[in-house]
Structure formats: C-alpha cells, structure tokens
C-alpha cells in the first residue's frame, strides 16, 4: 500500500450560511451596542427566529461530511455528484485554496495543482510573458518554464501570436494557452475541474490524450466533471459525492450508475402524471396527461427486464379536432445520446386525424437496450409545416435490469456499443 499518494481522512468542511458578520465594523459595533443595552439587534433579519422550525437553527452546512479515501499513484479518479455535493470544495481543499474545518489530507510528491484556465493571465502582457507568469503562479520555477516553453507553445498552437498581448487572443486561443501551461506542470498530482469542456472537439481530444500520457508517467489525476462519457472513458475509479459524503467509490460503471440512479429516484413505478409545465411548447390543442410503461398484460412496471418489449402508453386529451398529427418518441441514454427515434407514420406513412376527446397512444418497441438507465422523450408535430404541437423532453426515465444470458464480467469487458444485437454465433465446419 505504499503507493497511496493522496490519503484523505475524516475530512469535513463547514460553511456558515448567510452573512458571517454584517461585513462592516460600524454595524458590528451597532449590534454589539444594542445587545449591551438589552435592545433588539437593529441589523437582525426580521423573522429570522422562525427559521428554527425548519430544523436549521444554526445556519451551518457541511459541504464535506467525514470524507475519507485513498488514491493510488497513476490513477485517474473521477469525482461526480450533483451541484453542491461538495466536488469543487474537495478539489479546493486538496489544492490548498481553502482549509478544511477538520480532518487531514496527506499528499505524497510534489503538490497538487488545480488546472484552472487562465488564472492570473494579464491581458496587457503578451503570450510569452503570460506563460511565465501563469507557470509561476502554478508553482513552476522560471528555469522549468524555459525548458518546457517550446512544448507549451506547440501544444497550444499559438506560435504566431506568442508576442501578441493576450487581450487580443480569441477565446479559443486563450483557453488553449492556459490549458497548455497547466498541463505541462511538473506536479505529481493534477486536479481538473471541468476544464475539458472548453475548446473545440479536436483540442478536447488532444487534452484528454495529454491527461492519459500524464498518468502513464506515474502522475495522478483527479477530474471533476458532469460529463459521464468523459468520466466513463477516462477514469479508473469514480467517487460519487452525495450531500458532502461519499456515496460510492468504485469502478466507473458502478459509481456512475448509482449517481444516475439517485438523480431520478422520484418514482418507483414507470408512470408519470404530466403537468402543463412539463410541456416545453406553448398551448396547443393536444395535452399529454400521463405516460406509463407496461408489460404484455397492461401492468405498470417498476423497471423493464432485459429483452422484454418496451410498451409505452401515452394518455392524451384533444381539446379540439386536429388533423395530420405525427407522434414520435426518442429514447436516449442518460448522457443524452439518442439511441432511437420512432414515429406513428414510420410503417404506415399515415398521419393521424384526431377528434375531440381522450385517447391512449400505445407504442411497442423492440427492446435492444442494454442494462442501464434511459430517458424517454415524447412529442408531436403537424404535417404541412411540421409545426411542433407538443414536446416533453424528459417524459419518463426507466431502467433496464436483469440480463439473464450475460455473465456480468464478460459482458462489461467485451461488449462495446450501446445496443444489443442478439446475434447468434456458430462455428461451422467447411
């Protein structure tokens, strides 16, 4: 176990909500004087004493609550969680921007630095000087920067503009330069907070490759990201933070799944009453009342079994007669990759003419989905001009469970791709 490079023990970080003091000496003295005379604090928030009822008497939150974990050398570890789960707080403490309230972090090797884009760039100075300045802020010695200077410029692809003040850079150039400096740091631990969302696709790819190279040199990387594909494809382990505590620390498949699971644990059954707020288009003659997923016998499901046909039922109400309506659904992964799209006119080439009243639209879809979480979008448009009649982006989310024919380990290791093919394989003598 000697290759543990980051050891976090019982880390807590407490923030006080609201203002800590009044922010000015004058008001603090005013409050103090009022208290001394036994009068009401003139600066207290009216009605603030009612807040106790909400169980929130002392206005403190634990951004990190007793977090402990070990990270080994050369690992790429992802950190995921909803907004406010404590991801960035954790990175800030590891990078020493702020101190923990209690607990310790022990680090082996040259300090952790946060890959922050363009920290300390001075707009008046040319790219060359900003490389030095930024590098020094991130803890590099001047001689080190000189050594890596050409490499940085080449990586950032800004050779021609190296003597131009950075205020004249395009935002892409700015970001590339900033990332290049940070990525060439000689630290043993790199912390990355969502920076990979910047730059064009080619540069993103380049950046990710650079990250991989970095780990092959034995350096350790921590990535905070909301992009599950980046986490899945690059991390060896993933920490899932939930309300400041570690909810899962496992291989990406497990942690990401439990994160996505937690994100929509509103309802146990695959049925959802649709309110008018969920319609993203304006008022139209068709409203959706309810969406559900059922089995062959019409029972509402908790989840869909692997290979079991997807039967989606949508209850709609027409306020008035509408002609030439095309309904459609989209099934996508939780990473918003569209897997399939189907419409009522796919086979028959016929749009529907609806009269006033209530209907149930039933859709049967061949289930080629793998185990995991998916979301369903439901929409309708009208023919001549493809006017959108209704659109419900996240109408329902569902899970495919139980894959009876696949031993787990083999499955995840060898089967890439998003869909199952149900292929039959045979070896035939010829």
């Amino acid at each position: 176990m000697s290759d543990v490079v980051i050891q976090v023990e019982n880390l807590c970080k407490e923030y006080r909500l609201g203002t800590i003091s009044h922010g000015t000496l004058y008001r603090d003295l005013q409050s103090g004087w009022a208290k001394f005379r036994g009068k009401d604090d003139p600066n207290s928030i009216i009605g603030s004493h009612n807040r106790g009822q909400m169980g929130n008497t002392d206005d403190r939150i634990l951004a990190l609550n007793n977090v402990s974990f070990d990270i080994h050398q050369g690992e790429v570890v992802g950190i995921i969680g909803r907004n406010g789960a404590g991801k960035s707080t954790l990175l800030k403490i590891i990078s020493r921007v702020t101190a923990p309230t209690s607990g310790t972090i022990k680090i082996k090797g040259r300090g952790a630095s946060l890959l922050e884009v363009g920290t300390g760039f001075h707009p008046e100075l040319p790219g060359r000087e900003n490389i030095f300045l930024n590098g020094a802020i991130l803890g590099m010695r001047k001689s080190e920067i000189e050594q890596k200077f050409d490499e940085i410029v080449k990586f950032a692809e800004i050779d021609k503009f190296i003597d131009t003040p950075v205020k004249r850079y395009s935002s892409g150039m700015y970001v590339r330069l900033a990332f290049a400096v940070a990525a060439h740091l000689d630290t043993d631990i790199l912390l990355v907070d969502e920076v990979l969302a910047v730059g064009d696709v080619a540069f993103q790819k380049k950046s990710l490759n650079k990250m991989k190279n970095v780990t092959s040199e034995g350096r350790t990387v921590l990535i905070v990201s909301h992009s599950m594909p980046i986490i899945r494809n690059n991390c060896k382990k993933v920490i899932f933070l939930k309300n400041g505590a570690i909810s899962a620390f496992d291989i990406p498949a497990v942690s990401v799944d439990s994160y996505l699971n937690a994100a929509n644990e509103e309802s146990r059954y695959l049925v959802k009453e649709i309110t008018s707020e969920m319609h993203t288009t304006g008022i139209s003659k068709i409203r959706v009342k309810k969406i559900q997923m059922v089995d062959e016998n019409g029972n509402i499901q908790e989840h869909i079994k692997y290979h079991q046909p997807l039967i989606i039922e949508v209850f709609i109400e027409c306020i008035d007669a509408v002609d030439n309506v095309g309904f459609g659904i989209i099934i996508s992964t939780k990473d918003n990759v569209i897997l399939l799209q189907t419409h009522c006119f796919d086979k028959s080439n016929a749009y529907w003419n609806l009269v006033r009243g209530r209907f149930k639209v039933q859709i049967r879809v061949l289930n080629q989905l793998k185990r995991g979480h998916y979301s369903l979008q439901f929409g309708a448009h009208q023919k001549p001009f493809n006017v959108s009649l209704l659109d419900i982006p996240n109408a329902l989310t569902f899970e495919i469970t139980d894959e009876p024919f696949q031993p787990e380990e083999n499955y995840s290791q060898f089967n890439g791709g998003l869909l199952d093919s149900f292929s039959d394989w045979s070896l035939i003598d010829i």
Binding site: S2, D28, I105, K106, I107, G139
Partner: protein
C-alpha cells in the same frame, strides 16, 4: 499503513495550525513568482499611462509645492532653517513610499480574490511583490530629490549631508517592513470589515499629519516627544531628513523605539495574515 510511511508524506493539509504559520522556505521557492509579479505591475503600468514615469515625478512635485505655499509661506511653520522646498520634498517622498506600500497591500485579499480562489501559492507573495514594485517608484522620486539636493547644495543653502546617509538603506527596509506589516494587518481585517478600507484613506492622511512631514520634530514640546516617538514613521522621516539635510531633532533612542514598533507591527500582521489566508475564501 500510515505508521510505516508517515515520513514519506510531503504535505499534510489540515485546519489552521499554530500561530505563526508562514512557510518561509516555500516563499523562497516562489521567488520567481514575486519577480514576475513585480514585472507585471511595472509593464502593465507603463502600457496604460500616457505620461508613464512622469507621473511619479509630478505627484511629489505638486505636493511639495502645495506644502511650501501653505505651510511655509502662509502658515509660517518652521523648517529648522532648511530650504522649505527641500524640507517638504524629503518628507513627502519618504512618506509616499510608506503610504503606497500600506494602501496597496491593504487590498491584497479583496483585489486578488479571483486568483486566490482558484489556485494556491503563498499569499504573502502578493504583498511582498507590491512592496518591491513600489521601490521603483521610490527610486525615481529619490532621483528627483537628489537632483534638487545637489542643486541646493551648490547654491549654498546651508544643508549638510552627513554619514547618517549610510543608514538610509536600512530605513528603506524598515519602511517596507512597516508598510507591509500595516498593509497585511489591514488586509486581514478587511476580509471581515470592508469599511476599514474606507477608513484607511483618511487614516493615512491623519497619520501623515501625526508624523513630522510638514513640520520638524523640534517644534514638538519636549514632554510630548515620547508620544511622537511611538509612531515608527517619526524616526524614519526625521532621520531621513537629518541624513541628507543635516538638521533635525532625532535621538538614537527614538530609532530604537521605531525599530521595535516596526517589528511588532510586522509580526502582528504576519500572524493575522497567516490566520486569515487559509479560510478567507469562505468569508469574502
């Protein structure tokens, strides 16, 4: 495992440690950053102004002219028999360096909140670089002073530069230390009390009038001189003037008190700064 490998950890992050928590060796490792900050301030300053370094000359010149008219010609305050212009110029440039160091470092946390919130480096790097940047301003103004000094010397206005000049570099370091100490003291307090930054503006002005800048120390009744000696700037300005102009009421014990006060303020500033620097991001 921690038993076997405790010695291998290179860094340990925990909540606030002791009282004095400044890692000097770390500060030394970041010396390149200090120099780059100085360079950045310098270059950025010149790129933005039309008159460039001329501003550095105009400011003390105007101040000195105004002082000469008001305090010498109108109010008839003594200048210890020295040419009033030279008397005020000497006081002004000394005071300006200290005041600039103090006011500029007093904003450290607030003006750098953006960068401090994103990346770690020893926070003291910023105030130290400010104090060094201001040395350039001082050097330019000091050049101006020397030019006038030479002029007045050869005009025979009764000024006597003497061996006390040798102590000037030390005084400069002391002013830097005092400005730094006061500045980081205030910057630490302003993270909690923003209005202190406003009080500072006129506080600096009041402090200047409590220091023998526009009047000589000899004008102060003997029984109150100890009070003035408690102000560390008194001895600095008075010695500065004495060294170049050869007239003043400075006594060695005052310099001692001044050193002591400077050390005290700097130490207090560093203690407070080191307490604030770790968590100020949460309160600002």
């Amino acid at each position: 495992m921690s038993d076997n490998h405790d010695s291998a950890w290179t860094m340990e992050i925990r909540s606030r440690n002791g009282w004095f928590d400044i890692d000097v060796s770390e500060l030394w490792r970041y010396r390149d950053l200090i120099l780059l900050f100085v360079r950045r301030d310098f270059v950025a300053y010149y790129k933005q102004t039309v008159l460039g370094p001329l501003w550095f000359l105009l400011q003390p010149l105007f101040t000195t002219v105004v002082f000469t008219i008001i305090f010498s010609n109108i109010a008839h305050i003594s200048t210890d028999g020295l040419p009033p212009f030279l008397f005020y110029l000497a006081g002004t440039i000394g005071w300006t360096y200290f005041a600039n160091c103090m006011t500029q470092t007093s904003n450290t946390f607030i003006t750098n909140a953006g960068i401090f919130g994103k990346v770690y480096f020893p926070r003291l790097v910023v105030p130290i670089s400010i104090v060094i940047s201001n040395l350039f301003t001082f050097a330019i103004q000091f050049g101006l002073f020397l030019a006038f000094l030479v002029y007045f010397y050869f005009m025979g206005s009764g000024i006597h530069p003497n061996l006390w000049i040798l102590i000037i570099p030390l005084l400069l370091v002391q002013m830097a230390a005092l400005g730094l100490g006061m500045g980081i003291l205030i910057s630490s307090l302003t993270t909690k009390y923003r209005d202190l930054a406003l009080a500072l503006t006129f506080g600096v002005q009041l402090w200047m009038y409590a220091t023998p800048v526009v009047y000589p120390l000899s004008q102060i009744p003997a029984q109150w001189q100890w009070l003035f000696a408690l102000n560390p700037m008194t001895a600095i300005i008075e010695t500065f003037r004495y060294a170049f102009l050869g007239s003043g009421a400075i006594q060695p014990w005052m310099l001692g008190v001044s050193f002591g006060m400077t050390f005290l303020i700097l130490a207090l500033g560093i203690v407070l700064f080191s307490r604030v620097e770790k968590t100020f991001m949460d309160t600002i």
